[in-house]
Amino acid sequence: MSNGNGIAIDVKGLSKSFGGREVVHDLSMQVKRGSIYGFLGPNGSGKTTTIRILCGLLTPDSGEGTCLGYDIRRDAEKIKRQVGYMTQRFSLYQDLSVRENLEFVARLYGLTDARGAARDMIRRLGLSGREEQLAGELSGGWKQRLALGACTLPNPQLLLLDEPTAGVDPKARRDFWNEIHSLAAEGLTVLVSTHYMDEAERCHEIAYIAYGYLLAHGTVEEVIAKSALTTYTVTGEDLNELGAALTGKPGIDMVAPFGTSLHVSGRNVPALEASIAPWREKSGLNWQKSSPSLEDVFIELMARSKDNFQ
């Protein structure tokens, strides 16, 4: 390992525009070695662009930083050797079989025994018996596994996974995350973007990005604490009417239905409590003060950033 310090990704002030539209704005982040770093944010928030900058596929307009100790502007070739990048869209060769795809990657990275390495990976992925199947004919879940296998095959130090579990069934999603955790346990650093809150909670650290701005980062607990949000959970009847009535009242920053309950959140606690007071004692409604969920925090962040940046 070329540098001994505990930071895998260290970037400052990254910006990137496409056709005059800024997609990533002044983004700084640090990712510890051996950690799983979750990258969250709505569609079009700049997650993919940031990941592409980190692995040298895009050059930032401004900003600097290192990835595995290599300069992201100058040493893109060296970074590529140590980084496994799993694209959002399946980007292995659909007309090559599972084995041929893996052997291609192994050869490209110069593994001494390409066939052996591909064979071992097929076994590890549980794809034995499917090795001659064309990659394009695999189901969504198997495609994801194969893609993960292909990018871990050359023993990278850093994995960049761009929405790896989009459109995959829950069982395959769970298996996928178990695999990511066992890879991290072996010392791999993983940066993974996702939309799923349950996946965010499986990350060691998370960052929330919206409209190109990094809005929050830290552990899940830190992000929730930093939001300074107080949430009341209401259960009962006519929650839709209640929600409509509360929206926009002073101190109420967010009203969001969650299954059979309604989450009412705000940062200014006295104002929030004053606004909900008329409904607190209403029969048929059960109010409970709770800490906000990660989803509450993100929806609130997104709503706030929308006002600020759009």
Partner: protein, 387 residues
């Protein structure tokens, strides 16, 4: 998962082999993809076979039995022998005999005949008097290629026919002698010229399209993103994509020349090894140009359009369809920039004239130069990032 660690000193040696290794990885991948694409694979064989047999037999620049009409304004022996002589050249086949000028014009105008011969009133008498009467031959010159060969044969034919009829006994000595000498192809057999030309044309078309689509296909299928995130250099991608098709091109050239020799009796007077070597150079040049196109365009449709933009001038300005020397100077300069021009000279010279490397130095250098130019453009144009 064990981290592979390379001791630093070995790294440089590994780097050297890295080029070959990564090009090889790319090459194997391309081969598998080509093999799996059955239609393309079948086309590699079918295209040259179909085109060669079709065009080899169909294209004939010295056509025979052209439909003709005669406007007969007198029915004399001399007129009859002129017509007979014309028919004996096998260029003309007289389908109509008319006596009215309007009918004559309509036949030509409607395209029912390509030639019309008018024998004027008092033709025989004028000849005997020594008045040198005019014998009008009207040709439909909208297709000059078809008309020229037949027109060229007229003078002598008529003269000989007249000589026979005017004098009893053997034909008198002519005041001058016309000697036509068609070198290399004395029978004016088109296929001798067409078959070597088709080698070049078919190779240009197939090679160009194979590689013109190669990079855009990766971009459109999304595999380029993955490929770019891996440690492979533009030159390695290019070699990996070109080499498999050199073999394909070689197979095609072998097929075409084989059919040319076997079916059309085209000789190969020169050295076969030299022909194979220079054909490989030509194939690689075309693949490089196709690959360059691929790095310039954004999608497969554009790649096809640009290939056609290159292919059409190749056919028209290279000397395949029309004589190179007949073109204006600027068009000749343009033609010199096309690989097909040089290859046509090479392949015709080796097959028909038995030329050696000595004779072909300029065209070989030109091909190599064009190849290097295309490769340089391709490598510099290849985008290493998605910017």
């Amino acid at each position: 998962m064990s981290a592979v660690e390379h001791p630093e000193p070995r790294r440089d040696i590994r780097e050297h082999f890295g080029f070959l290794r990564r090009s090889y990885a790319m090459l194997i991948k391309e081969f598998i993809q080509l093999r799996r694409d059955r239609v393309s694979f079948a086309m590699i064989v079918m295209l040259p076979v179909m085109q060669l047999t079709l065009f080899g037999y169909a294209i004939n620049t010295t056509p025979h039995h052209l439909p003709s009409a005669v406007l007969l304004q007198e029915d004399s022996d001399l007129a009859r022998s002129v017509l007979k002589a014309l028919e004996n050249t096998k260029y003309f086949r007289f389908l109509y005999e008319v006596h009215d000028v309007d009918d004559f014009d309509n036949l030509l105008k409607s395209g029912k005949v390509l030639f019309g011969v008018e024998i004027p009133r008092g033709f025989e008498r004028a000849v005997r008097r020594g008045d040198r009467p005019a014998l009008l031959v009207a040709a439909d010159a909208t297709d000059p290629v078809a008309a020229s060969a037949a027109l060229g044969s007229l003078g002598m034919v008529v003269q000989t026919a007249l000589a026979h009829d005017l004098y009893i006994g053997g034909p008198p000595e002519m005041p001058f002698e016309i000697r036509a000498h068609a070198r290399y192809n004395p029978a004016a057999n088109s296929s001798l010229n067409i078959v070597p030309g088709l080698v070049g044309t078919i190779l240009t078309m197939t090679m160009l399209i194979f590689t013109a689509l190669s990079v855009t296909r990766e971009v459109e299928r999304g595999t380029m993103e993955s490929l770019l995130s891996m440690p492979i250099k533009p030159v390695e991608v290019m070699f990996g994509k070109i080499v498999p098709y050199v073999l394909v091109g070689f197979l095609q050239a072998f097929l075409i020349i084989g059919i040319g020799v076997g079916l059309f009796g085209v000789p190969v007077l020169g050295n076969l090894v030299l022909l194979a070597l220079l054909s490989t150079l030509f194939i690689t040049t075309n693949l490089s140009i196709g690959y360059t196109i691929s790095t310039l365009v954004q999608n497969q449709l554009q790649a096809m359009q640009m290939s056609m933009m290159f292919f059409l001038p190749s056919i028209l300005l290279s000397g395949f369809m029309f004589p190179f020397a007949g073109m204006p100077a600027w068009a000749q300069y343009l033609g010199e920039c096309l690989p097909l021009t040089h290859y046509l000279r090479i392949v015709r010279a080796i097959m028909l004239k038995g030329a050696t490397m000595e004779n072909l130095r300029f065209d070989t250098l030109a091909l190599a130069g064009l190849m290097l130019l295309a490769m340089t453009v391709a490598v510099t144009r290849f985008r290493r990032t998605l910017d």
